[in-house]
Symmetry: C2
Subunit: 151 residues, 2 copies
Amino acid sequence: MIRLSTKGRYGTRLMLNLGLHYNKENKAIVLKNISDEEEISIRYLEQIIIPLKINNLVKSIRGAGGGYTLARSPEKIKLSEILHALEGACCLVECVNDEEYCTRTSFCAVREVWKEASIMLKNYFENLTLQDLIKISKKKNPQTLKSTFNK
Amino acid sequence: MIRLSTKGRYGTRLMLNLGLHYNKENKAIVLKNISDEEEISIRYLEQIIIPLKINNLVKSIRGAGGGYTLARSPEKIKLSEILHALEGACCLVECVNDEEYCTRTSFCAVREVWKEASIMLKNYFENLTLQDLIKISKKKNPQTLKSTFNK
DNA sequence: ACAATTTCTATAAATTTATGTTAGAATTTT
DNA sequence: AAAATTCTAACATAAATTTATAGAAATTGT
């Protein structure tokens, strides 16, 4: 199965959640909040948010009253950046990005196909911003922000 | 990581291998051959070929002199059929095809994006035939058929 | 009829990767 | 100093992947 790992999926939801709470004040959101709303274990979120921080997609504020915020406004964050931070280069098969990965690279016809498909996917995510996700979310959930996350 | 499983990858190479050997006589190819040329364990190939047979993509001939052949000519076999046989429906995330999979389906904005991307991928594989793969392979390997599979 | 070849079936073991949890240290605010 | 919260490392569990084992069934050639 062609599958996106939970890191990518949960991390994207984490970012969307921060995006939905993003506003002028840009108040920090604690992981516990995100955990409750997104129904993802806080311990797992702690792991997932590390690469997002390293790649400068979120900012952290430690200590009481701390939490996380987006590092910049949602329209300036591409989905491809989020996925790249969480999962590395977007490729259906390792050999697409790492020619040395397999000794058959030079003559493997199948690789060409996986490569082409990977590029398609990459382009798709390249042209979607967090702002787009927020729009989709608000459209699907015209009610309050809170209800967006009902169980 | 967005990743195509080995079943899909190896199975596609298996099919391409059969395709490259496909000709008028349509002589059966033994798995040992494919195993040697593609450098995939014969034990694993035995497992992978089962769904290909069930889905009527290859035919088997038992006993001495037996082996496998394509069930029909390469231009009549779509890559999407191969992948579907090996991996089930093409979807980046389970919830894309199975709405019941997650309770958040009705309001999850992220799902829309995975769905869209899955459709893109599916269309791509829908429009590629084994014959296309064979062409690519022959173009990359203008020498003999044999050399295509040198290590 | 017999031996050799090869698919077919089932299961299990070993390995790797992905997912998730536990425990506690470090930092900051109140 | 206490509470809140991020940060870090290690551990535990589950799933996917790969290899291995053991033989049965079918077919061909001698």
